[in-house]
């Protein structure tokens, strides 16, 4: 479904891993091999792996790591605010580091994904906020749209 990604690449790297582990330790959590592997997989599988993608990468290195551990780790890291996920069309949640949260646009026809730049997003946010009082999240849900190539198809 998702045929193509473009736009700038994320700038996630190993420092994200150590910062996440740091955060984990600081809040009384433990730094386990499994968690290290999940975080590394998250870095390697940029830009937007699903829990399955992460599990697959982890399994390549440590086949005994259970799926539920991957899910639990992903949830723990989400609660810590280290990572976040986005829902794109139907299908599983896609994960990314929290410092890489940007609003997504997804084409409903071809699945192509783009990001909204910060300036445009802030403009939209201000418009919505003054009209309704609601302050838009940057991430979490992708904005459903039609990309230029598919735009002729419908309103």
């Amino acid at each position: 479904m998702i045929a193509h990604w473009y736009g700038q690449r994320s700038m996630v790297d190993d420092t994200d891993v150590s910062q996440a582990l740091e955060q984990l330790r600081r809040t009384g959590g433990r730094v386990t091999q499994q968690r290290r592997l999940v975080l590394q997989a998250l870095v390697d599988a940029q830009p937007h792996p699903s829990a399955e993608d992460v599990a697959e990468r982890v399994a390549a290195v440590a086949p005994d790591v259970h799926m539920s551990t991957v899910y639990r780790t992903l949830n723990t890291l989400t609660e810590l605010g280290v990572i976040s996920h986005v829902h794109i069309d139907h299908g599983p949640s896609l994960y990314h580091f929290a410092d890489d949260v940007r609003p997504h646009l997804v084409c409903r026809q071809c699945g192509r994904v783009d990001h909204v730049d910060a300036e445009t997003f802030e403009a939209v946010r201000a418009t919505i906020e003054s009209a309704s009082g609601f302050r838009l999240d940057r991430g979490h849900f992708a904005w459903s749209a039609n990309c230029p190539a598919c735009r002729d198809d419908l309103d």
Copy 2:
């Protein structure tokens, strides 16, 4: 989770049902009692019932109508363009008549939902379109946000 709805009510009524059945017949489909009941439930359960809500209402009148029939009918009507659904936070799809498609704002804290008025939406759409070429859908995905009451909590 969803504590409160506000904003103008939809204007869905019985004419939507007959128009939908009409459309169904025109495209070679059959007007069955089950479909009538699903459509009626959709009208009665405004503004945004889940498939379960619809099935429950149908079951109150005709207990033998199977869940899968409800899902199939909702899918058929979606393909016909008569109805549509929106994803609000995690949880099931919420259905509504297609003529009632409006962009939704959902508060991530309290679940309160609001609509974006047409004028504001068009302004946002124009902004996004000129920045990225993507043309926003009116419906399908809710925009995740914080409502005025919960706004202090996070960025």
